[in-house]
Symmetry: C2
Subunit: 394 residues, 2 copies
Amino acid sequence: MKQESLISKKITNICLVVMLLVFSFMAEAQRRPSKIISPEVLSDNSVIFRIYAPNAKDVKVVGTWNRRFAPDLMVKKDTLWEVKVGPIPSDMYEYDIILDGIPMIDPLNKAVTRDGPYIQSRLMVPGGLGDIIDVKPVPHGDLKAVWYDSPTVGDSQRRMFIYTPPGYDKSNKKYPVMYLLHGGGGDEEVWINRGRANYIMDNLIASGKAEPMIVVITNGDVNNIGSVLDRPAFQQKKDNTGIGAMAAGVFEKSLVKDVIPYIESNYRVIADADHRAITGYSMGGFHTQNTTNDNPTMFKYIGVMSMGLWSAARNDPNFDKAGYVTKLKALQAAKPKVYWIGMGTDDFLYKSCVELRKVYDEIGFKYIYRENIGNHDWNSWRLYLTEFAPLCFK
Amino acid sequence: MKQESLISKKITNICLVVMLLVFSFMAEAQRRPSKIISPEVLSDNSVIFRIYAPNAKDVKVVGTWNRRFAPDLMVKKDTLWEVKVGPIPSDMYEYDIILDGIPMIDPLNKAVTRDGPYIQSRLMVPGGLGDIIDVKPVPHGDLKAVWYDSPTVGDSQRRMFIYTPPGYDKSNKKYPVMYLLHGGGGDEEVWINRGRANYIMDNLIASGKAEPMIVVITNGDVNNIGSVLDRPAFQQKKDNTGIGAMAAGVFEKSLVKDVIPYIESNYRVIADADHRAITGYSMGGFHTQNTTNDNPTMFKYIGVMSMGLWSAARNDPNFDKAGYVTKLKALQAAKPKVYWIGMGTDDFLYKSCVELRKVYDEIGFKYIYRENIGNHDWNSWRLYLTEFAPLCFK
């Protein structure tokens, strides 16, 4: 009798599940045909992508595993398109499916990340760098989205993320701080969402590679108070005017005048140059250069990712080299402990970085130069974080 | 001369912007044709959707503004498809574009939200309920993703969000707490991402409609330690077995034994029943019922959203009504101050809620019943939060 009641319970449970699925199916207009998996990562780290598209004529995948953006063409099998790619080196990648010329996220993949307008599907490939980027069974730091007063930008409140390392809330210890900046078109969310900074830090700290530290992830786009879902839907300021406003020097001032004082008065930090690091990619690398050139005694750990000499990138004939060198010499005199430059071989800013290093070399300014086979993309920036963070505060 | 240099600077800046855009264009395979806007909200709150799809044969929009999921057919104009919908009542909506039978996000809309596997584009329509859901120029509470020990579920750490109201960090005040639960297939992120709970609370608190409170947003899916991007990419536990495991009673125990003690020992809360609220939709409504039926003296504010009598939904012939009523009478004896039920006219669980109210009415159990013209979807759940939260702690 009891057995029967259990079986009956199971059957009615199954009925309800079916009901809920049918409902979802209605709502989602056959978004997820059953039992099809995409992406499927095989044991040798090759990957099969699949999409149900009976009426399509031309379907392909474009992912960051191919630095030249060469598409992987999918082949139709009945109503399903499929392609096997790789083996692919362990890492995290972004990809689009291009369906008759229209890029879309992979409808079978729940893992989607965004950087600015670029909403793409995520692929994780395990066994190496991918494992440093993934969520692992190690202690996790907490991550807080806070709103701080920002008189320098002119917004009453702006949003940023603060990562506190595992154990922060249960100790009285003071911690060093890394300020982590994003590139053009981005916002405070992209180092979390696509950059995986909190999980990278968890893994680096757990393995003893990086010191426990607070990581502050700001929004360098002074046109917006927060990321896409964290600002008014109908805003006054122009959206994504991006590079121009981001390069106008306001964010760097706000970092020094608004952000750092907020952190140092609200968190248990060691508030001196020896315990401050700053790094960022692309426009965030430019912000890093400006901030440290203008505040030479503020940071002892400096990381410039995928950025060269801005004036060289812009072919600026009016580059004030003498002024630049004067600032650089002040920074040199302040003796940063680590000045790190990361650049990918295929980066469109590669040459501007050659120019940057020339200026540094001319005055004997010391730096670590790391060149990877890579592009101006998140594969480089996540890699750089795994390499720069371990150099800090040691 | 200075003027010239400024103009030259502007020109080179523009060149760099163009360069970066070209680069993005390459990377994104013409994802965003210039100057086309979608969705465009007109002054009368009608909305134009557009998509560049020169080769498509059949394009439509399906959005939650239509409770029956009737598609709005798009019309081809040259290479562009377009449709004007509405005027639509002020609210937030989710929608898909269906391109030759394949649902996709709107490539021109950066605002994308997720609930379980359902990744959809967001539409905001201003001037009413939409304004309570949107980010407004009011003080914002902070939002922290924390990892807590979860021995009851058997995971060493699980993830949840904690909203602290504006001013929390700068006061010594103790606050009441609302526990906010999600539905089947969801996770701790969905009340943030799609539910906008933190911004709804900001706006309700700023307007004086709701008391300042802490809101704790848990993950009711015991198969997963965190949301899609916040758990291992390759996990042992089965993904999204969903309803079955979520209905097994483990989460409710963990809420009482793991979550509430964590909150009450780590936050400044008033730790009594008068200052505890619990609410959730769908499966979270079921979790709410179970938690309060099993712990009758724990919460004085109880909200059941879009859920009826589980046994009625399941047509369970073995429903132990006597046992259910015994528990309910204990809850009745504990005198909850608010017991609120919200149900949409088109909800597939509507009848099960009629059955629930029958049982309550039979024993004279008092509740507030709110029926809206709506469905089993986020339009109901966001609305319910705006109505239930103001009833708490008053």
